[in-house]
């Protein structure tokens, strides 16, 4: 079944492209590929098709479909999502002028007059608004814009892309040659692709989390402040042993309380087992600040997941090096717990600014006492600290862990630190397959 799902979308997309070619090579006008006016129409249509396929493909990538995610891991899916996301606005920008130019040549109107005339055609104005929303979602995700935006603003802009797709659909149904052509079976390819995408999104993003909730009745049990700005949320529920979580995974949490229920945010499990789940949340933005201030025991929680392949299952050696920066400790704390239980050789290097910022200090000390886990704290802004000082880089890792090339490295921290460490570890001869990381913020 998984293979059928994997082949379905590429096969449908290939069929849609074939029909595009067939339609344009066999129009009542003859082949649209014969002259530049025809080429403008043919490639204008192609741009529209690519944009539509792109949006549907993006929705599939972020649907967190159970048949897709374990094969690639969410980080690779996310990278593909980012790269493919750049193609969509380009296609959307090219589609209207090419089609309008063709029509302008047909009618003898000026380009501007034709553009305005086309905007009055059925559903085109709505599609133009949809195009704007989709382009805005992509533009606001570009690094320079993303850095300046809160998670909430970025998330809302992304939700706007769904509305954009809905607005553009009418235009495709009423004017899209593949959907309105006299050869109806052309249209069935598009109906099938749309239905497949919608089914995956609805099932994996909406239905599955609510089904999980009905089964487990997750609710906040208690909150515990770990540091001044990190709070652990303990969640209890029914039959939690039937909710399989691998240490290192994350979930999308939707707290069912006023002010929280319209947003699902990703958080790593910092512990799982013993009849409860734990997520540790750092106060970083409006949403997390509101959680710190307002989350009450008893609040129901809708959990989507668990997601991610950033787990000890990925290990190819018998030993591990865990490198955490700040709140990046959360998945690594869970992985360290699993490795300690399995008595596997593990070194945890944990970077923070000051000692007060160390999350789970007591728990980590407890793990160290279990024997197989060594913890090395590195502080960058604590003059009185007797341990390692400065920033975690390749040189420091080589000094602290001389056998690091024989270990699987699990990295979780701020993106610049992760990027530097990935380069540094590769430079120190750690094979690519032994370096594990995951960016779960979509």
């Amino acid at each position: 079944m998984k293979k059928i799902f994997l082949v379905f979308f590429p096969a449908g997309a290939a069929a849609a492209l074939y029909f595009w070619y067939f339609n344009n090579a066999n129009s009542p006008f003859g082949s649209y590929f014969a002259d530049r006016m025809g080429l403008a129409m043919a490639f204008g249509r192609l741009a529209g098709i690519i944009a539509m396929l792109g949006v549907m493909g993006q929705l599939l990538l972020v649907s967190r479909a159970g048949w897709l995610e374990p094969l690639f891991g969410l980080d690779r899916l996310t990278r593909r999502h980012h790269l493919a996301g750049l193609i969509i606005p380009l296609a959307l920008l090219v589609h209207p002028p090419l089609v309008v130019w063709h029509h302008a040549m047909q009618t003898g109107n000026t380009f501007l007059a034709q553009y305005l005339a086309v905007l009055r055609w059925g559903d085109v104005l709505a599609a133009a608004c949809g195009e704007f929303l989709i382009i805005a979602a992509v533009a606001l995700s570009l690094p320079f814009a993303r850095r300046r935006l809160s998670y909430e603003a970025w998330h809302n802009a992304h939700l706007g892309a769904y509305l954009g797709l809905a607005l553009a659909l009418g235009h495709q149904f009423s004017l899209g040659r593949d959907l309105s052509a006299e050869l109806l079976y052309f249209a069935w390819v598009w109906y099938a692709l749309l239905a497949f995408t919608a089914a995956n999104v609805l099932w994996y993003r909406l239905q599955l989390p609510y089904r999980l909730y009905r089964k487990h009745r997750f609710a906040v049990d208690r909150t515990v402040m770990e540091t001044a700005d990190v709070m652990s949320v303990y969640i209890k529920g029914k039959e939690l042993e039937a909710f399989p979580v691998e240490p290192g995974q994350f979930a999308l949490l939707r707290f069912w309380a006023p002010g929280f229920r319209f947003q699902a945010h990703p958080f790593s499990f910092s512990a799982a087992g013993g009849g409860e789940l734990r997520f540790s949340v750092k106060k970083l933005g409006d949403f997390t600040a509101a959680l710190h201030a307002g989350l009450r025991p008893g609040t129901p929680v809708v959990i989507g997941g668990p997601h991610g392949v950033f787990t000890a299952r990925r290990m190819v050696t018998g030993k591990a090096l865990l490198v955490a920066g700040g709140i990046g400790i959360t998945p690594l704390r869970a992985i360290a717990g699993r490795l300690a239980a399995e008595k596997k050789d593990c070194v945890l290097v944990y970077a923070n600014r000051t000692r007060k910022d160390i999350v789970f200090e007591a728990e980590l000390a407890e793990l160290e006492r279990s024997g197989s886990v060594r913890v090395r704290h590195v502080l960058s802004d604590e003059p009185s600290w007797a341990g390692e000082k400065g920033r975690v880089d390749a040189d420091l890792l080589r000094r602290l862990v001389p056998d690091l090339a024989e270990r699987d490295a699990f990295l979780c921290g701020p993106p610049p630190m992760m990027a530097a460490l990935r380069r540094g570890l590769a430079g120190l001869g750690v094979p690519e397959k032994q370096i594990h990381y995951e960016q779960f913020s979509l």
């Binding site: 006016m37 029509h103 040549m105 059925g122 004017l175």
Partner: protein, 211 residues
């Protein structure tokens, strides 16, 4: 051979050569020069203008004979031909010419005969005239003329199908019928569910309904 004979022989050769050159010039002068795309556009404009007048007269006759469906078809075809004429006129103007038509009073017979006449004309235009004009416009890389001819050719083909359908069962064409005509290319259809013109991709809103 003496000098006199040499001179006579040379004169004879020169006469033959001169004769052949003159004959060549005469053949060149007699051969009809190939029509230009502008000529073809003028021919098409004249044909469409006459077809419009003819179909309007045929529509009136069909209405008088009680063939209301056939009258509607002739009206739709007349509108379509006027759209083609207007497109050809634009292409003529773009080439620096002035559209000229010699519209003659059409010979109106019975509706059956009128349908036969219309079918013959549409078949000629869609199978012979426009393909030849299109070939020349393509050779001249005149995109505007090409699309004007292509649109007309596709519409005339459809007209021929509709006239043929009417001829095959004239009884049914006494009832009122509706037709849609694309305002851009003149495509004519009885399919009222059409969403997009299959010829020029204009939406349903750009069609005129004829009853």
């Amino acid at each position: 051979m003496n000098i006199k004979n040499h001179l006579l022989a040379a004169a004879a050769v020169m006469a033959v050569l001169a004769g052949s050159v003159c004959a060549g010039n005469n053949q060149e002068a007699l051969r009809k020069p190939e029509a230009t795309t502008l000529d073809n556009l003028q021919t098409a404009f004249n044909g469409e203008s006459n077809a419009k007048a003819k179909y309007e007269a045929f529509a009136a006759k069909a209405e008088a004979e009680g063939y209301l469906g056939a009258a509607g078809l002739f009206k739709a075809a007349a509108l379509s031909e006027s759209i083609h004429a207007a497109k050809h006129a634009k292409a003529i103007t773009a080439l620096g010419g002035a559209p000229k038509a010699d519209v003659k009073t059409p010979a109106v017979k019975t509706t059956r005969e009128n349908l036969k006449e219309a079918l013959k004309g549409e078949n000629h235009e869609s199978k012979k005239m426009y393909p030849a004009f299109l070939k020349k416009a393509e050779a001249d890389k005149n995109t505007q003329a090409m699309y004007s001819f292509k649109g007309a050719m596709a519409a005339e083909k459809m007209h021929a199908q509709l006239f043929s359908k009417a001829l095959s069962n004239m009884k049914d064409w006494k009832a009122k019928m509706k037709f849609l005509v694309c305002q851009t290319c003149g495509y004519t259809t009885m399919d009222m569910t059409i969403k997009v013109c299959p010829v020029c991709a204009q939406p349903r809103g750009q069609f005129t309904e004829i009853e």
